[in-house]
């Protein structure tokens, strides 16, 4: 049976992990490759690397980093952040990424999703959506959550799936950082009405939150960052807990 996936997310700037990460058993907590390999060893099902570098040098640095990750990490990984062209994606996939994620660039030019799916296949195109609930609905936000749009998140997700997006990575801005649980309603709506996997993101604080998002919202995967980085929840313990609650996970 296909399992629910647990996905740690690492923010990358200039080839290094951002945020102070508290791991005593690795030499360099700022090294995304070493941290990624550690998560893989602990039983993470996939990894997401989000590049937030803004400099002109970013492309080359990122491609080199992706090659390093592919060389050392034996599970699939997605690379996102500022990807806006077929050429960007080609370079990252050639460097060894399994999937790429697009967000603002795809919203501004939806045909980019068609082009990427045609060129590389839907299976490696993840559509990331940042969304906030206000005035009775969930709206798409762009540029890392700084710019509001009038488009509803569900409508954009549905359109993007029609254009060839192979997975949805849904981050609720209302929940992100609160540690009060995932946004079950919009995650559930997408997971149940779209024919592609939905990765829930934002709000994980306890192990029960993962059970909720898998069982009640039927998310296919759940992504978190700080709770893993600060070891508030460790992956082996989380998987044991989920298994005890009847959630199908990989060991």
């Amino acid at each position: 049976m296909l399992t629910k996936r647990i996905i740690p997310c690492l923010d990358i700037k200039d080839g290094r992990t951002v945020k102070g990460i508290n791991f005593e058993n690795i030499r360099d907590a700022g090294d995304p490759i070493e941290l990624g390999a550690l998560y893989a060893e602990q039983g993470a099902d996939e990894l997401v690397f989000l590049d937030i570098t803004a400099t002109n040098e970013r492309r080359k640095t990122l491609a080199e980093l992706v090659t390093g990750i592919a060389r050392h990490v034996n599970i699939p990984f997605t690379v996102g952040g500022g990807i806006s062209s077929v050429e960007d994606v080609y370079v990252l996939l050639q460097s060894g990424a399994d999937k790429i994620s697009v967000n603002t660039s795809a919203f501004k030019d939806p045909a980019l999703v068609d082009r990427l799916a045609r060129e590389f296949g839907s299976q490696c195109i993840v559509l990331a959506i940042d969304t906030r609930f206000e005035d009775g609905d969930w709206y798409v936000y762009l540029n890392g959550g700084r710019v509001k749009t009038e488009v509803k998140a569900f409508d954009w997700a549905k359109e993007a799936v029609g254009r060839g997006a192979g997975e949805i990575l849904l981050t609720s801005m209302n929940n992100d950082g609160t540690k009060k649980g995932f946004a079950l309603d919009i995650t559930g709506q997408m997971a149940q009405h779209l024919n592609v996997p939905v990765i829930a993101s934002g709000g994980a604080g306890t192990m029960e939150h993962f059970t909720d998002v898998f069982e009640n919202a039927q998310a296919d995967a759940a992504l978190a960052a700080s709770i893993f980085h600060y070891k508030e929840i460790e992956i082996p313990a989380l998987k044991t807990f989920l298994y005890s609650k009847g959630v199908n996970v990989r060991f």
Binding site: T3, R5, D220
Partner: protein, 197 residues
């Protein structure tokens, strides 16, 4: 020992090469007929679309080279499907080592089954030397919309609404639908077993 990875227009070659490297093996990526035929082990990977890939192989007569290989060959994902008889994906006649057809997943109820299948699923009914020390029900990473049906050459089974061939084996031809190069320790073990044949 020389291991080659067949170079063609279907992705994920780099990942396979890195997986070999983690096992201390250098994989040469090539489409040169002589080099492929002279290798000790041949890996036929692939992520992509069946008809485009077959056309590319035919134009370079790589389909005939592959069919004639006598050394151990490992097909991965699309590589496995292309070793079957026929694929429903754009009605493609394939190389035909394995006497099974490749079909598209069908959801019994709308949206019940997400297609492609993406993620970790377990493999059962293991009976091939490539699964030595791989436990029954081991989890492997799958990404695919089409599957090889069950047949006489099935050596591992996975369920995604229906049971299908997770692996096939016939003579010197071994093939897996999942990605051993991305399937953590258990996947690496399968590649290692293949290299040790």
């Amino acid at each position: 020992m020389k291991t080659v990875i067949i170079k063609y227009n279907a992705g994920n070659i780099r990942s396979v090469q890195f997986a070999l490297e983690r096992l201390g093996v250098n994989g040469t990526v090539t489409d040169d007929h002589e080099e492929i035929m002279a290798a000790d082990k041949v890996i036929f990977p692939g992520v992509g679309e069946a008809s485009t890939a077959m056309q590319y192989l035919k134009e370079r007569k790589l389909d005939e080279v592959i069919a004639g290989l006598k050394q151990p060959v490992l097909g991965i994902c699309l590589g496995m499907q292309l070793l079957c008889k026929h694929s429903e994906e754009n009605d493609t006649k394939c190389i035909g080592i394995f006497d099974v057809d490749v079909k598209r997943f069908q959801s019994p109820v709308e949206n019940l089954l997400k297609i492609p299948q993406i993620g970790w699923n377990n493999i059962t009914g293991l009976h091939s030397v490539v699964f030595e020390h791989v436990p029954e029900n081991a989890y492997m990473y799958f990404v695919h919309s089409y599957y090889a049906a069950l047949g006489a050459d099935t050596v591992a089974i996975t369920n995604y609404v229906i049971n299908y061939s997770a692996a096939l084996q016939k003579d010197n031809f071994y093939a897996v639908q999942f990605h051993p190069e991305k399937s953590a320790v258990a996947g690496a073990r399968i590649i290692e077993n293949f290299l040790n044949l």
